[in-house]
Amino acid sequence: MSAALQPKSQPQVHRPVVEAEGLVRTFGARRAVDGVSLSLGGGECLALFGPNGAGKTTLLRLLAGLLAPSAGTCLVGGVALRADGGRAARSRVGLISHASMLYAALSARENVEFAARMYGLRHPADAAMRALKTMRVADRADAPVRSLSRGLQQRVSIARAIVHDPLLLLCDEPYTGLDEVGSAALTEALGERRAHGAALMLVTHNLSEGLALATHAAIMRRGRFVRYEERGAVDGPSYASAYRELVTADV
């Protein structure tokens, strides 16, 4: 559960950023998430793979506070998911998706400042510029978002997600639609977040991109984790073939 990636003189034990126990989410009779437990510390990255409909997006939406769990408990940054109407937990989480979640008519700066204000930051303008600088889009800060390329939009979207320095960063297929340059920038940004002690959960179909950042890897199927291991224990090619087998087993 150690968080720091830089060597420290006194190794400090940190509490896990997210602790989930038996999370369930049903839609009518369908159990989209069927008893998921996980524990992730700061500086760790869980790469989550699985076929379509496995429940990966639902799990992320549960952790982001967009959905309420049907059963189970979860702590994010030490607070219960539903405490204070969910506001306390949501303030500690950042969400990145393949959709940019930006307002096309507003500028990058306005989008990120809006987010900064919604998260109650004391100096929203400064925080926004810092986030944009971190994502290397500060020079295009005042252009309307619709005039930016998809790769740049994604960077603005990440800036929006990290402006409040979240403890937990949830990424739902963020590489979708990005070219090589964009993907490299995304990987660099996520790695930097991890280095700053955030916990990451990364849902992706791309095994190599996911494993590049991961400290842990899991495969989800029918709402459950069918495999969960540390990155070190994962051997690329055999993992890939095991994954392929699991995905095609249902057909």
Binding site: F27, G28, A29, R30, G53, R222, D250, V251
Partner: protein, 250 residues
């Protein structure tokens, strides 16, 4: 799922769909038959065994259809209101099914009221339509019911459909008093053309009994139709579930 399983599931879904589509045999049951008999009895009584009203003549007999339908339309709406609240509180899909059934039956009854009103009114008032308080309120009820049914038709996902319908059901009920107040105020301040408006004159006992009988017959019809519609929606839900399971299993 293995291939034989898939085939079996397909067959099951297909038969559930067919049942739902044919609407038989479970739907025409004892209640429907009893209701049909009651309604026929009520009309036989109304037409042949009740004296004709002095000033209005035969046309007045449609009143025995018009008033009970109106009262039951409001009853149906009350049920939609209550089940909407229950659904949002308990999230029990049965409440949603009752609401759905009651709304469709209510729409039917409201249509009956709006069509029989003019048929009654023309020979008596000399005009097809009059904005009298009850008819206007029923018209708005029709609008809300129609909106409710169209809303439901536009949402494929069951939980979302139930939530949205429940919200509309509750807000619609809140609207009714305001419509009533507005129409009442409108009418008292707007002298309408003087029409011979035959409110219910003191009804002789035979007419009152017929009216009551008719009303009870309609309540029976309401209950039977809602019950049938409820079972139809269960069949449909089951079929949809099976199809969804097929999709998910792939």
């Amino acid at each position: 799922m293995t291939t034989p399983d898939i085939r079996a599931a397909h067959a099951q879904a297909q038969s559930a769909r067919t049942e739902a589509a044919k609407g038989r045999p479970a739907l025409v049951d004892g209640w429907i038959i009893a209701a049909a008999i009651a309604v026929i009895a009520a009309y036989v009584r109304a037409i042949w065994f009740t004296p004709a009203e002095a000033t209005q003549g035969l046309a007045q007999k449609i009143y025995y259809l018009h008033l009970p339908a109106a009262l039951n339309a409001y009853l149906a709406f009350g049920v939609v209101f209550v089940t909407s609240i229950v659904y949002l509180w308990l999230r029990d899909e049965r409440a949603d099914r009752v609401a759905e059934s009651s709304a469709e039956v209510g729409l039917l009854f409201t249509t009956v009221v709006l069509t029989t009103g003019p048929i009654w009114g023309k020979p008596i008032w000399g005009t097809w339509w009059t904005w009298d308080a009850r008819l206007t309120l029923t018209l708005f009820l029709w609008f809300i019911y129609a909106g409710y049914v169209v809303l439901r038709g536009a949402i494929p996902e069951p939980a979302q459909r139930a939530r949205y319908s429940a919200v509309l059901g509750i807000l619609g009920a809140l609207l009714i008093p305001f419509i009533h107040m507005s129409v009442y105020l409108f009418r008292t301040l707007h002298p309408m053309p003087i029409v011979l408006k035959p409110d219910r004159p003191s009804l002789p006992p035979e007419m009152l009994h017929t009216l009551l009988f008719s009303f009870l017959a309609f309540v029976l019809v309401y209950f039977a139709l809602v019950r049938a519609r409820y079972r139809l929606s269960i069949e449909r839900a089951r079929a949809a579930e099976l199809e969804a399971a097929l999709e998910g299993g792939r």
